[in-house]
Symmetry: C2
Subunit: 350 residues, 2 copies
Amino acid sequence: MTNEDKPRRPTISDVAAAAGVSVKTVSRVINNAPSVRPEVTERVLAAIGELGFRRNHIASSLRSGQATATIGLIIEDLANPFYSALAAAVGRYARERGTHLITASSEESPELERRLFLELCQRRVDGLIIVPAGGDHSYMRPELEMNTQVVFLDRPPAGILADSVLIDNAGGTRAGVEALLGRGHRRIGVISDSTTIYTARERLAGVRAALAGAGVPYDDALVRTDVAHPDQAAAAATAMMRGGDPPTAFFCGNNRITVGVLAALGRLDGDHDARGDTRGDTDVDLLGFDDFELADLMPRPLTVIAYDVGELGRTAAARLFDRIGGDRSWPAETVLPTRLVRRGPRRPAS
Amino acid sequence: MTNEDKPRRPTISDVAAAAGVSVKTVSRVINNAPSVRPEVTERVLAAIGELGFRRNHIASSLRSGQATATIGLIIEDLANPFYSALAAAVGRYARERGTHLITASSEESPELERRLFLELCQRRVDGLIIVPAGGDHSYMRPELEMNTQVVFLDRPPAGILADSVLIDNAGGTRAGVEALLGRGHRRIGVISDSTTIYTARERLAGVRAALAGAGVPYDDALVRTDVAHPDQAAAAATAMMRGGDPPTAFFCGNNRITVGVLAALGRLDGDHDARGDTRGDTDVDLLGFDDFELADLMPRPLTVIAYDVGELGRTAAARLFDRIGGDRSWPAETVLPTRLVRRGPRRPAS
DNA sequence: CGGGGTGTTGACAACGATGTCATTCGGACC
DNA sequence: GGTCCGAATGACATCGTTGTCAACACCCCG
């Protein structure tokens, strides 16, 4: 039996003993420091290989002060494709710079956001990217003053000054709704997430701006907010369609709402079919914020307000790495553009 | 000017000085140790608040030996909904236990998988969950012997003994294909990911078993492997449909392939429509491994081999936490069941 | 009134690595 | 031949925290 069952990891000093040199020399070899004789280097490397030594990154980053080569990402919900796409983009950017990523979901809870933020600071991450849930980030100030870098993503900070990377929510929505208006729609159902969320407010502002520009009144009966789940969106759309004077088009405030409304309209169509009606609702026009992978496979045409999610994540990551690298310029707000994209089944060329 | 611009974080000893106690007493207060007089506790807490002290988790976990309260997750691609759902489930489970999660994507590269694994070990994560890309994990052995816990997820380990949590790939596929056969299909197109991937091999084995059971020959012309992208799947399906004696049904080896094939069939339908044909391909039956959120909104009916992704992630996480908690029982393979689910548009009740 | 808790506190070492500085040893140079 | 210089190496302190152990005060009991 030559195998050893010691559960203890070899340390730099075990290696030093095995190689017959000092710990400092081992440290030098590990860090590719100059001025170590090739012969000694070789002996140390041999010992490292034999013992299966791996440098303790924890101890290393403690001693050297900063640079844990780790960043944190706080998002709302990793299971949402929008956020997982963001996380993937940030993770890839970090990876290319030898940095690891701790991802955490705040589930739209300001309290959890705060806890996660502070916990990640305790881990001395080099910086954080955060899609904030809360409406006040002054609690971050002490950490910012102590050299923790933070970039806000998709939603701006409140109560502190920090970099943010956003998309043109209001402008994109306005353009989309104007397109609906241009197609003759005058009754547009609006289904939105909670207005406590920045992006929802901005998008609603875009709706109002477009309506005002066309002189179309804003009808509260056609606006539903606080919709957090596709099922709620479906219910809201169904209710509007069954009401008197139903909308001829919908604006859906995000991808989950779009999906819910699509499902609801599909069911309404199905009911009509079952009753032998013509597909009466097929001409309901749909505008949704956020593109999604399967949009082209949806059973009806829709317009989406699209933007490059990967770009959004990369831009935030790039900003953060600039900061970590020592950039101390005045915090900036970056706004990425959106564009309208027609999705859904290809119409047969008639 | 009373504010201080020192970028240095206060340490436990700054707090001790401010409160007029020893560092050890501060440590006791931080850790809720008993036997500190309430009055002293209060003084220390006041000092902590005033200085904005936060315990350095790095130093703490270095001193106390183990327990970084961090686990690692290595998956193929966070942008894929399957993996992000896994990551979300694992992250939530970890969060509930006060543990953070470092997620990394190996992009199906065994070499990258290995690098990520070793890097995470250097960070002294308490354990790792890995969806392996490689076919040999003996490189992990030294780490395992040094008390790093590893659970394999979705694919089993090779070359070492470790826990794994899988789904019933072969059985689920067999059941699905048998259902197709039961509906009379004899020519079933099979589109699969690379057979270097365990799950792809297992699923193909399920296909063969079902065919063999029904006495239907396995026709190589109807099998396409190494499909890594929806577009490739679409191309493969299109080619088969355009060939002589096209399949009357497809088995799609994963969600991305299903999406590609759906898109291809949709385009073929569209072409027929454009030429004034009837929707000639509508009766092509579709079976796909993996459920996906928008399956019900797909333009045609399909059957999916579904399983609970959240459960998969939670089960692996639970196993890992058991191990971290000290469970040293013999490694086990857990296989979760699948079920067939009919998806797609609701047919009008006729 | 002394012995033996119990409760509170602090001095010191240690975790595993790296920065600082000193030491040693050749060889180049005057 | 002595001096100086740089390369190679090691002793030791240090990062921020916690474990160990000792010191001290106080109280209960016999």
